[in-house]
């Protein structure tokens, strides 16, 4: 107690204190006590007049032993008074129990208490039943309750899980054990039973990982969503981030790309609550680390998402929610060796449906007619009527239709994942060791895209001495990615823009034709035009010591350090590739360089070396007095990260055989060398106090003090408090007799959090090198002011309210979790682009100006039941989050309906397209842009001033981030079979098929032109055609210019992003034990599963796009079919 007070005093002394004092005190305490000699099984007790259960509780606190008993056996027993020091548990228990007519048995760390003399009264009409109770792994369950239904007649299983009970003939017996699902069995004529109890995953005693610790779900006051590693493994995706979709209520997950090694999903917690960076903080084993998507799913114990003030313990980084990933650890028991292999086949969920050659050629002629400006001449048509007829027939070479997506993208691409893990533990050491391997190929025909990933992990816990545990976690990853020189985006854009009548090869030859860019997609897809080789190595090490201080009951000190280092090596070799021209006169094929690459190869080598050191010192204290339970946690934390980047390049390699930098061109003016460095540090102090009364009234308060090198000295530390409370109504005596109500809890929380993700050193005036000039035909360097500094820059703050309700009725038949939140984000960093005039010349820094209010709810309903051999569950979740910009730097809007303030962030102005101008007459009848004509979109004259200009644009408030997300999971287990289904969807979001304003590629989707390349059939269907009857036209005309009246920001190109899809389906079969055991194994499960199987509804079907994309050129997200086998030795 003394120690705690000391620590508290130091912490309170000053707000600008320095960590070292605290550290030294903590480490001192730590070190002086290591000598205390203690061993398990030795206890110190001083208790007066306590019940036996209380005695057992105290012993549990001091040892790893856990007691099992029937309440009925202990009621009425004489209270215990005991005062012992360093006494062996054995002698203590023998003494106390024998006096009270009880006995005990020890098995592993379980101590089973039973009545000494089990004399079952024998009488007529009774029969004796016996059996063994085991868990689904076949391990005996000790202390399971066996009760004859409707009576008090019962017994517990012994250390071997064996029981024997005399019951009335025809009775039912109930078998139950904490943490497992109860079973009722008709005795019938049978007298020997093998009872398998299944773990109750819905138990209230589920442990949830929160910031810097764990908590029982029943005493949780905040809003936390969890998913178990086993659930994630059901989605056989190479990148695990997309497996969260639909499984974590309140977490918005969108897969934007399926490219191997580049397929991280976008993850947002409770939508977007800021105009700044809205990405959540991701912690892997307590440390902020990148690479969530590349984790080995087999290593994951659980993923917990802290959504409300529960995250406030992470202070300045918590505003966007915190995702806490915990990896598996060994548990005491014999070594378990697990091997799994998953063979997966992947294909795009959808490919764009491109227009055919006849449509393409028709459009070409329509443009010639529509855009012919000279009344004195006739338009020169692109294709003669004879040629058009050939296109229509589509058989003659040069007039055929090719869908290049079908041509260039494989139907099924194999990938696989292998995993081997060993876990177990003994008296002193627990271990979890794993090795994972993943191999993926690219979707393109003849593609050289390859992704290999290897993960190793070793999580080891050593009991060094009594109460002192040391843990060393080491995780390593190596991955290598090979891909062609051109990015997947380049490839897709080329495939998209290839005209349907183009041919890859000159007919009858294997000579590549020069196509778009005088290049050929075949060269781009393989390594002909060059390649990238990206190798990542990663080391993550945690060393932690936890010491349960023997002379301060309930006090545990933890010291933890981690060192993470990553090394990225990136080699890019661009090589010349070749295509063939056909000489018009001679018909000969002439080999030539492609139009995009160099005549001689060039090489670039890059390396990136970030590292970070993390340190945590923490004291946990828990104490109970009477029915009052208290937990206190204090901690200090610091992080230092460093990064170095180096790049060198040389062009003009005479040969492509040696891609190494000491070869290559000798002209030094063409060499390129660059290097950068960066540093960053954080220092944090944290504290948390939990109190509960009888587990009924629960309070929590946290405080975090955060310092960051991102902010100026006088503004460096921020304070982030939070408070929360919960009331478990179901624990109240007036509700105790409501049998159907297992749990009812209401929660409320308030917390202040921050978001410090901004560019470094915005408070300093800095100058960068660059903007070089040329003097006397030689380069001279330049430097320029990076930006105007903002000396007051600080973090965003959010104040978040959350109220929630958890209920469990009829033993899991209905579970309800509901949360409503309201989060006000202030001081959001943004640039005052809209009000600081350009003529000031200021390059704006971020300033803490904006405010956003985010509100929403999450609802989870679960149903869980067992009927005979059937066990099934259904869980549905629905989340809604809508933000509202309260203040942004916005210039006075031209029209009231254009004001962005008060609407969701990301709302954009679009012309409201309301139809197509059929003809000149129609054009004359309605206001239009000065360069609009027949066949162009009609934009609504919103303000009715008779002129169409930017003032008529309306604000579209739906963005590409869905406001509503939902998921529905169903599982069924029957004997060895298990089935799980996940439906996932989203609503209230848009997919704008135009890119950001000012992006010159913004118009390729909406422009329909033979000169610009291929377009969707959807774009062509229903188009306005010159000279035709256009009264039913639904699509604007074709345009030769890329940027035209129809192609810009207007509502015609916005698609609804809502959908519902069968995200995941898995069928598994666990082979019967006897068979497996005969093979000398303990478990075999085979499974088949599919991911992103099909869409139930969406609005992108006609276009051939996956509704999760937010771009019209993208590497499609993948549908995968997976076959897996999992063997446990």
């Amino acid at each position: 107690m003394n120690v705690i007070q000391n620590v508290v005093k130091i912490k309170c002394k000053s707000t600008k204190f320095c960590g070292t004092n605290l550290l030294l005190v903590l480490s001192f305490i730590f070190l002086t006590t290591i000598s205390a000699n203690a061993q398990t099984g030795i206890v110190n007790l001083k208790l007066e007049n306590v019940t036996l259960p209380r005695l057992f509780q105290e012993i549990e606190k001091q040892s790893t032993y856990r007691f099992s008993y029937r309440d009925a056996d202990l009621t009425g027993k004489e209270p215990v008074t005991v005062s012992v020091k360093e006494q062996s548990l054995k002698s203590l228990l023998t003494g106390i129990l024998s006096k009270r007519n009880l006995q005990y048995q020890v098995s592993g760390n379980k101590i089973l208490i039973t009545v000494s003399s089990t004399q079952s009264p024998k009488s007529t009409g009774k029969k004796e039943v016996s059996g063994v109770v085991v868990d689904d792994k076949g391990e005996p369950i000790i202390g399971a309750n066996i009760i004859e239904k409707g009576t008090t007649n019962g017994i517990m299983t012994d250390a071997n899980g064996v029981f024997s009970l005399t019951v009335t003939a025809g009775a039912q017996i109930q078998v139950s054990y904490i943490g497992y699902l109860s079973q009722e069995i008709n005795v019938g004529n049978k007298s020997d039973f093998q009872i398998i109890l299944k773990e109750d995953l819905h138990t209230l005693e589920e442990v949830v990982v929160v910031g810097y610790g764990t908590r029982q779900k029943s005493t949780l006051t905040g809003s936390v969503s969890s998913v178990k590693g086993t659930e994630i493994m059901k989605s056989p995706t190479a990148n695990i981030s997309s497996a969260f979709a639909g499984r974590l209520p309140g977490v918005v997950v969108n897969s934007r790309s399926g490219e191997p090694g580049g397929d991280d999903a976008s993850i947002l917690v409770r939508g977007r609550g800021t105009t700044g960076d809205s990405s959540p903080l991701i912690l892997i084993d307590g440390v902020e680390r990148p690479g969530l998507g590349q984790l080995n799913p087999n290593d994951i114990e659980s993923v917990n998402v802290l959504k409300d003030s529960e995250a406030a313990i992470y202070g300045s980084r918590a505003s966007n929610g915190v995702i806490v990933v915990t990896t598996k650890r060994g548990v005491k028991g014999k070594p378990t060796i697990n091997f799994s292999y998953n063979q997966t086949f992947a294909q795009p969920t959808r490919n764009p449906k491109m227009a055919d050659a006849y449509t393409f050629a028709s459009v070409a002629n329509e443009i010639r007619i529509r855009e012919h400006a000279d009344p004195n001449t006739q338009p020169v048509m692109a294709y003669t009527p004879e040629e058009m007829e050939k296109f229509r027939v589509g058989t003659e070479s040069g007039y055929t239709s090719t869908n290049f997506f079908d041509e260039m993208i494989r139907n099924w691409t194999p990938q696989h994942r292998t995993n081997l893990s060993i876990s177990g533990g003994g008296d002193r050491v627990n271990y979890f060791l794993s090795l994972g391997e993943l191999k993926q190929n690219g979707q393109f025909e003849g593609s050289t895209i390859k992704y290999n990933q290897y993960n190793i992990r070793s999580n080891i816990d050593v009991k060094v001495a009594h109460g002192l545990t040391a843990s060393l976690d080491v995780a390593g990853q190596y991955d290598s990615r090979h891909c062609p020189y051109y990015s997947a985006y380049d490839l897709i854009s080329h495939i998209f823009l290839y005209a349907p009548h183009w041919q890859l090869y000159w007919p009858g030859t294997d000579y590549l034709q020069p196509l778009r860019g005088d290049q050929n997609i075949v060269n781009m897809i393989n390594d002909n035009a060059g390649w990238h080789e990206i190798k990542n190595s990663k080391f993550e090490g945690n060393l932690s010591l936890k010491w349960e201080v023997p002379w301060v009951k309930g006090l545990a000190l933890t010291a933890r350090g981690s060192y993470d280092a990553r090394f990225k090596y990136w080699k890019t070799f661009q090589t010349p590739s070749y295509v063939y021209n056909k000489d018009g006169a001679t018909g000969e094929y002439v080999k030539r360089l492609d139009g995009m690459g160099p005549a001689k190869a060039s090489l670039q080598d890059r390396s990136d070396m970030p590292s970070s050191i993390y340190l945590l010192l923490k004291a946990d204290y828990s104490h109970s007095f009477g029915d009052h339970n208290l937990d206190l946690m204090l901690g200090y934390e610091q992080t230092q990260t460093k990064g170095y980047y180096l790049s060198a390049s040389k062009p003009e390699f005479e040969s492509t055989s040696l891609p190494i930098l000491n070869v290559g061109g000798t002209d030094k003016t063409k060499w390129g060398i660059e290097g950068y460095g960066s540093e960053f540090a954080r220092q944090n102090y944290l504290g948390r106090l939990n109190y509960d009364y009888k587990g009924k009234y629960i309070l929590q308060g946290t405080l975090r003090v955060d310092g960051s090198s991102n902010f100026p000295k006088n503004n460096r530390f921020g304070y982030f408090p939070s408070f929360s409370a919960a009331w478990r109504l179901s624990e109240e005596s007036f509700m105790k007799n409501m049998d159907w109500l297992n749990n009812l809890k209401v929660r409320a929380s308030w917390g202040m959090m921050g978001n410090d993700k901004i560019d470094n050193f915005q408070y300093l005036m800095t100058y960068s090198y660059g903007n070089n000039y040329v003097v006397n035909n030689m380069d001279v360097q330049g430097i320029y002011e990076t930006r105007v500094p903002n000396p007051n820059v600080t973090w965003e703050t959010s104040k978040t309210w959350n109220v929630g309700l958890d209920a469990n009725l009829w033993n899991g038949k209905l579970g309800v979790e509901f949360d409503y939140f309201r989060s006000m984000r202030d001081d959001i960093l943004g640039k005052r682009n809209a009000t600081v005039p350009g003529y000031t010349g200021i390059t704006l820094p971020d300033e803490n100006i904006a405010s956003v209010l985010n509100r929403g709810f999450e609802l989870v309903l679960t149903h869980y039941n067992t009927a005979g051999d059937f066990t099934y569950s259904i869980s549905g979740n629905l989340a809604f989050a809508r933000n509202e910009v309260k203040f942004i730097d916005e210039a006075p809007a031209a029209e009231p309906y254009q004001v962005k303030t008060g609407n969701p962030y990301g709302s954009e102005l679009y012309y409201d397209a309301i139809g197509i101008f059929k003809d000149e007459e129609h054009l004359a009848s309605y206001p239009h842009l000065s360069n609009a004509g027949p066949g162009d979109l009609i934009f609504r004259d919103t303000n009715g001033d008779g002129v169409i200009n930017e003032k008529d644009q309306i604000l579209i408030t739906k963005t590409d981030i869905p406001e509503m997300t939902f998921g529905l999971t169903g599982t069924v287990q029957y004997k060895g079979f298990d089935l799980s289904v996940l439906l996932q969807g989203q609503e209230r979001c848009n997919v704008p098929m135009v890119k950001g304003k000012g992006n010159i590629y913004s118009n390729f989707f909406s422009t329909m032109s033979d000169t610009w390349g291929g377009f969707l059939q959807w774009r062509a269907d229903g188009r306005w055609i010159p000279g035709a009857d256009n009264s039913n036209a639904t699509m604007p005309r074709a345009n030769s210019a890329n940027a035209n009246v129809n192609s810009g920001y207007n509502t015609h190109w916005i698609r609804n992003g809502g959908f519902l899809r069968l995200k995941n389906l898995e069928i598994g079969y666990t082979l019967p034990k006897p068979i497996v055991n005969k093979m000398g194994l303990s478990d075999i499960r085979i499974s088949a599963s599919g991911n992103n199987l099909f869409l139930i509804y969406d609005s992108m079907r006609d276009l051939g796009y996956d509704p999760e994309t937010n771009d019209y050129w993208y590497y499609s997200i993948q549908r995968t079919i997976n076959f897996g086998v999992n063997v446990t030795f």
Partner: protein, 547 residues
């Protein structure tokens, strides 16, 4: 046990060492205020970086595509909006930097103003100080001049704005801007050598200041800004121009090579190196060679090149903007590229002209035509049947070469000085002198066009056409038609392209076709100021009339 204790204690001590100051970090790859303003060599680097403010012309979207010189195939930068007279305060932001110059200009003005503020008290020698301040004063004057030509009078800002200040400031008048620029240039001129020594070419010189001053004054005297035709302005312009005549510059013999490397005709140019270059060769190259042919010369420009023998324009422009061949000129519509001003051949690639060892084929189905079937990016083919030749280095193919173009972008050259002088003298009524300087340009040894003998309005037209031809594509035409106040006539004319059909008997048929119908309204003499700038000024910046 003691051992463990010591080991752990030392590990922890090492870990926590200096933990107190871990937040006091500095950027590892950036310089601080202190570093820069106490080090003359870093200050020179700061000056170097200010040159990027000058809008050089080696862009994908050249200024000519906003006039009757070039056709922009993609309309990515709102050229069709401008050509149709549909430019407004919203879409003006879509123009490329040289026409949407407002933001770039003022951020560079702030950069230069910052130097003037912070360099006070810096340890600079007199020579260093003069050099740097002179260069920066020239650059700032150039920025203001370019703003002035685009928008008319703009706010003159010489202070360094910080955050949270009152930013309302009115526009200065055109005259105030002219006076400011001239004063600044006079001062800069006194600080700089007339001509930079050979090892400093590329830096601003006294002559660069004089040339800029001359152009600013010539524009100031021009009809758009001088409605009363105040002769004093022409006088002042002529005086300023005179100071550059017969000094350190001379006309190069070979017209084409002026634009490829440094030479005595150049008064001020931006140079390029291998590591500081552009993709100009690729974006403007012929499609048949893998170039992007982004800027296609228009028939309108082609028709402005006179016939070499007669000195007459090949065609007569008709009222609807189309052209009728003028037989007296010697022009043969069936051989349209024969006997033209040599500058035509040096500036434009046409069907049949040899370039990089190959004849250009822009006839339908030809290698550089969009209907070519022999493979290649035919969608990048010229839509006018012409490609750019001026500025392009023949030794650099559009693709495949690691060699990058290093042709200088010329801001001021001697031929412009002579034409400026001819124009000013003509407007002052001195037609003899005007003709003399006009013919000087025409007599360049590689050009040798017949002397102009006209007078009066015809002479004015000849001077203007000479300027159009000699300075074609050099970012003059856009401002010239405006300052001459003839845009309401010239910029309403349709843009014309050429269509060439090669008959079976190998003869070619040439048809001029209207490509695009233009429009021009009086408000278009100036560009609109971006709407956001007017709004952000809270009313202190007035929009140009008509927008």
């Amino acid at each position: 046990m003691k051992k463990i204790k010591y080991i752990l204690y030392s590990i922890l001590s090492v870990l926590f060492l200096n933990s107190c100051n871990i937040l006091d970090l500095k950027p590892l790859d950036k310089l601080s205020d202190e570093d820069v303003w106490n080090d003359p060599s870093l200050m020179q680097l700061y000056v170097n970086s200010c040159y990027i403010a000058l809008p050089h012309g080696f862009n994908q979207y050249m200024q000519g595509s906003y006039t009757d010189e070039l056709w922009s195939r993609s309309n990515d930068y709102a050229s069709q909006e401008l050509l149709a007279g549909a430019l407004d305060p919203d879409n003006v932001n879509s123009l490329p930097t040289h026409l949407n110059y407002w933001g770039t200009a003022y951020s560079n003005i702030r950069k230069i103003n910052t130097f003037f503020d912070k360099s006070q008290g810096s340890p600079l020698s007199e020579e260093q100080r003069n050099g740097m301040l002179g260069e920066l004063k020239f650059l700032r004057a150039y920025i203001y001049a370019h703003l002035l030509w685009c928008y008319g009078g703009v706010p003159i800002i010489t202070k360094v704005y910080e955050l949270n200040e009152d930013y309302s400031i009115p526009r200065n008048s055109y005259e105030e801007c002219v006076n400011f620029i001239v004063t600044e240039l006079e001062e800069a001129k006194s600080m700089l050598p007339d001509k930079q020594p050979a090892n400093q070419t590329g830096r601003a010189s006294g002559d660069a200041c004089q040339a800029l001053m001359a152009r600013v004054l010539l524009y100031w005297a021009s009809p758009l800004h001088n409605p009363d035709n105040d002769m004093a302005r022409w006088e002042r312009a002529a005086k300023a121009i005179e100071k550059l005549i017969d000094t350190r510059y001379s006309l190069q013999d070979d017209y084409e090579s002026i634009f490829l490397k440094d030479n005595d005709e150049i008064i001020f140019a931006r140079q390029f190196t291998q590591s500081n270059s552009t993709v100009f060769s690729m974006v403007q190259g012929r499609s048949g060679d893998g170039g992007h042919g982004t800027m296609d010369p228009l028939q309108n420009l082609v028709n402005s090149y006179e016939m070499k023998a007669t000195g007459k324009l090949p065609c007569v422009e008709q009222s609807d903007g189309t052209y009728r061949p003028d037989p007296t000129s010697g022009y043969d519509p069936q051989n349209p590229y024969e006997g033209r001003d040599p500058r035509f051949y040096a500036s434009i690639l046409y069907d049949g002209s040899v370039w990089q060892g190959r004849e250009t084929e822009t006839f339908k189905g030809g290698r550089d035509n969009k209907d070519y079937t022999g493979g290649g990016s035919t969608w990048l083919a010229s839509e006018t049947s012409y490609y750019l030749r001026k500025f392009l280095d023949e030794s650099i193919p559009p693709t495949g070469s690691s060699q990058k173009p290093t042709s200088p972008w010329i801001f001021f050259r001697y031929a412009e000085v002579l034409l400026n002088y001819a124009e000013a003298k003509f407007e002052l009524g001195d037609e003899d002198t005007a003709r003399k300087y006009l013919n000087m340009v025409r007599r360049r040894s590689s050009v040798r066009m017949p002397d102009v003998t006209d007078s009066g309005e015809t002479l004015r037209k000849r001077i203007r056409n000479e300027r159009r031809v000699e300075l074609a594509l050099e970012y003059h035409r856009f401002f010239d038609v405006r300052r001459w106040k003839i845009a309401e006539e010239t910029e309403k004319k349709p843009l014309i392209s050429m269509e060439i059909i090669k008959e079976d008997d190998q003869t070619k048929k040439y048809t001029e076709v209207i490509k695009f119908r233009r429009n021009f309204y009086p408000k278009n003499y100036y560009l609109p100021i971006p709407r956001t700038e007017v709004e952000k000024s809270l009313g202190s910046i007035e929009q140009n009339p008509g927008y």
